[in-house]
Symmetry: C2
Subunit: 206 residues, 2 copies
């Protein structure tokens, strides 16, 4: 009973878009509503506060990218190629945002994590969850890599953490330089972290 609406979904999408390309504090509730074509009264019908909207929006965003991560890190793909695919997809995604908005947007989770990390424990912890989830993709690939007989220069978990750190830092540098090409350094850096010799310029296929 009662009417139905997709206003909630539009609000989630607007929130991610605006916060990603600006920042949490720089985007107001009014602005999110206007982009979503929703009046303020409706906003507070769906969400009790701006913070709750943000949490819901980031959950929705993760759910939207998870299938892509599942595909990129498919166990059917050779483990090193999974990581190479991910590096490439990361660059392409940021390049696309750069072409559309004129600026490197960086990692949406890291952005809000650094902005609100010291002020909102719930958002901080949630961002940490996303990092952990993503790290598991890396760990799985690294375990499969060792199963192929390749010896890492450190443990699987520690190596995955280093790769994640390197990625996050590279996204910061790319954003600050406003140059997506900075992200091309990712795969070479990963290879050096693995202490695996960079074999051929193309993806190594059997």
């Amino acid at each position: 009973m009662g009417r139905t609406s997709d206003a909630r979904e539009r609000l989630l999408q607007s929130a991610i878009d605006l916060i990603w390309t600006n920042s949490y504090a720089a985007v107001g509730v009014d602005q999110i509503c206007e982009r979503a074509g929703v009046k303020k009264g409706s906003f507070y019908h769906f969400f009790p506060s701006k913070t709750e909207l943000a949490l819901a929006a980031y959950d929705a965003h993760w759910e939207s990218i998870q299938p892509h991560l599942d595909a990129i890190f498919s166990p059917l793909v050779p483990p090193l190629e999974r990581i190479e695919r991910w590096c490439h997809a990361l660059y392409e995604h940021q390049k696309e945002l750069y072409d559309r908005y004129g600026c490197v947007c960086g990692c949406p989770y890291a952005n809000v994590g650094t902005e609100l990390g010291t002020r909102d424990d719930r958002i901080r912890a949630r961002v940490g969850d996303y990092f952990d989830r993503f790290q598991r993709y890396l760990e799985s690939a690294l375990r499969d890599l060792t199963a192929e007989g390749i010896t890492l220069s450190a443990g699987v978990k520690v190596t995955a953490q280093s790769i994640l750190s390197c990625e996050l830092g590279l996204l910061v540098r790319a954003k600050v330089a406003n140059d997506p090409e900075v992200l091309r350094e990712l795969m070479p850096s990963v290879l050096r972290l693995l202490a695996v010799a960079p074999s051929s310029p193309t993806i190594s296929t059997p």
Copy 2:
């Protein structure tokens, strides 16, 4: 002629402290004034805008840490030990802030760079300058390392970029996890990036 005052310096210090432990947008001009014990009228006597204050504050902050960086990266210190000292100082500094404020604050430059990167070109470019400056310390150490006959797994510049990325990403992860101990991973990651075997648990002294 006219009277003198250290209100300007107090404002610069307050701005760094507050923005570092919170965020740029979360800290108001009133708040900065109150902490500095300065009235708003005086604020706008010294600075034409909040943005100008931020730029001046970050310049002042860099000037305050540069002597420490000069000491840590002294050419009289063995190059690998310079980097090890830096990793240690970074941890100690963040730990100190954590003990004082109860939260990991991360890199002040990267924080404001990610927050305002897409909205204020001047601040973004300035943060890029600080990154470049710091990278030169690393490059110098790496060049001296190669002069000792040690071969890096990649070029000096690229390696320095990777180390910087790893540091920035680690600071993001430490902030999001609100755990300074995350930063202990820095030196091991750096060693893997250098492809130098981690020799002894203590600093290698001649």
